[in-house]
């Protein structure tokens, strides 16, 4: 092994070891057992980011379907979790719209709405508008098809008006 080969090996060894140390300090595993799990997560993240960068990013359809099933069974917490796992990069307008809609359905109340959930829903709807302002859902089960309608519903729900005290409000239906 001549000197040049040793120098090249040294450069690569240094770079590899430095990256490994930087990675360890970044992911901060709590024990040696956690290191492989963290490595797998990092690998998945890197793969997704690469897909986004080269324009081949797609959502995890299986997770999305699971989320949709949970959404239709009114199990909104599980639905949101699955939708978020399906679209880890938050780049798919359809999935993000379902997440926003889940906030609406979960927060809707005959007497009063859950303001905290509605606020989160409003933020989520704004994200959908940022991703695709012309988005329109093709789901027949949803009465609110566009982010604008959903946004209006959130804003109306958060605003305190005289109509909030109308006893006939209890007759209104969730959309």
């Amino acid at each position: 092994m001549n000197e040049k080969h040793i120098q090249i090996s040294g450069i690569f060894l240094t770079l590899f070891y430095t990256l490994f140390i930087a990675w360890l300090y970044w992911v901060e595993p709590k024990s040696l057992e956690e290191v492989p799990a963290k490595a797998q997560t990092t690998l998945e993240n890197v793969t997704t980011k690469t897909q986004v960068a080269i324009g081949t990013y797609e959502i995890d359809q299986a997770k999305f379907d699971e989320g949709l099933q949970a959404f239709r069974k009114d199990n909104f917490v599980v639905a949101r979790d699955n939708f978020e796992r399906a679209d880890t990069e938050k780049r798919d307008a359809k999935t993000q719209f379902y997440i926003a809609y889940s906030f609406y359905r979960q927060g809707f109340g005959k007497l009063s709405n859950d303001d905290a959930l509605f606020k989160q829903g409003l933020e989520q709807t704004n994200r959908v508008v940022t991703l695709d302002k012309n988005f329109k859902s093709d789901d027949a089960n949803l009465q609110l098809k566009t982010p604008v309608e959903l946004k209006n519903e959130f804003e109306e729900g958060l605003r305190v008006t005289a109509s909030d005290f109308n006893p006939l409000r209890v007759l209104r239906e969730r959309k």
């Binding site: 092994m1 001549n2 000197e3 040049k4 040793i6 120098q7 090249i8 090996s9 040294g10 450069i11 060894l13 240094t14 770079l15 070891y17 430095t18 140390i21 360890l24 300090y25 901060e28 595993p29 709590k30 024990s31």
Partner: protein, 268 residues
């Protein structure tokens, strides 16, 4: 006056000069007989140095291996261990990123290395070297910088009043050294002393003042009121005892790395 002199060997001349000027005590030049005796003694001593198979001279490859493989590994291991602490509650890893002040201290330390000729810049980077060699040398110095940063991260208390006091002491020492006339040996001795003292302060004194974690604070106040008071007053973090051992080895690795570091890469 005759200018003709008997031919002398190089050794004879050297010894003659040494004898003439040593300590201003030897006022007269030695006689030829004395010189011959001295040369014989010296040659005998040279011949009597034992040589074994294990003491082969280092080849160029061995030196390169040491410089470009072993040295970065030592420094990077120091960098890895320097920020590692073990949580007192569950012995879990805690990776502490170095604060900005550690980067500043490491930069000053590198300047000191250059000033004291522990590293000679023109011995590490020159246009006479190949690009690969310059790059490899750059990598070694980069690992030295990382290790220095992490050594300060290791030896500085994490927060509170002790952090500021020890950081100030480091800064004061480094700043003074920056303007002092140094030789390599004294610099390494000074650094060894400074790091050793900081290690004792953090991992023996302050660790001794930290209250144990396995007790509730009310129980702690009754059983160890002093430790509880110091922990609260000085905002001391609670780490597992193994942290001190890890940092001890980090410091040892760093000092070994400095010992192996050569001022120039082009000389044997």
């Amino acid at each position: 006056m005759s200018k003709v002199q008997s031919p002398k060997s190089k050794d004879e001349e050297t010894i003659s000069v040494e004898l003439s000027f040593a300590h201003d005590e030897l006022l007269e030049n030695p006689t030829d007989e004395e010189i011959i005796t001295l040369v014989k003694t010296k040659n005998r001593k040279r011949l009597s140095i034992p040589t074994s198979k294990d003491q082969k001279p280092k080849t160029k490859n061995q030196k390169s291996f040491l410089q470009y493989i072993v040295l970065p590994l030592i420094f990077l291991t120091t960098a890895l261990l320097g920020g590692l602490r073990l949580n007192a509650a569950d012995n879990g890893f805690l990776f502490l990123k170095p604060p900005l002040v550690c980067l500043i201290f490491a930069s000053i330390l590198l300047v000191l290395f250059f000033r004291a000729n522990l590293i000679r810049l023109n011995g590490w980077f020159t246009e006479n070297f190949s690009l690969t060699k310059n790059l490899a040398n750059g990598c070694v110095l980069l690992t030295l910088f990382f290790a220095s940063t992490q050594i300060f991260n290791s030896l500085l208390p994490e927060r509170g009043l002790p952090f500021w006091i020890v950081a100030f002491c480091f800064f004061w020492t480094l700043w003074n050294n920056l303007f002092a006339e140094f030789d390599t040996k004294r610099l390494v001795q000074s650094l060894g002393g400074m790091f050793g003292l900081a290690f004792v302060v953090k991992y023996l004194v302050l660790a001794g003042l930290t209250a144990p974690t396995n007790k509730g604070w009310i129980q702690g106040i009754f059983e160890n009121p002093t430790q509880e008071a110091f922990t609260w007053l000085l905002d001391l973090p609670k780490f597992a005892p193994a942290t001190g051992y890890i940092q001890f080895f980090a410091l040892i690795f760093y000092l070994i790395g400095l010992f192996l570091l050569k001022p120039e890469t082009n000389k044997n």
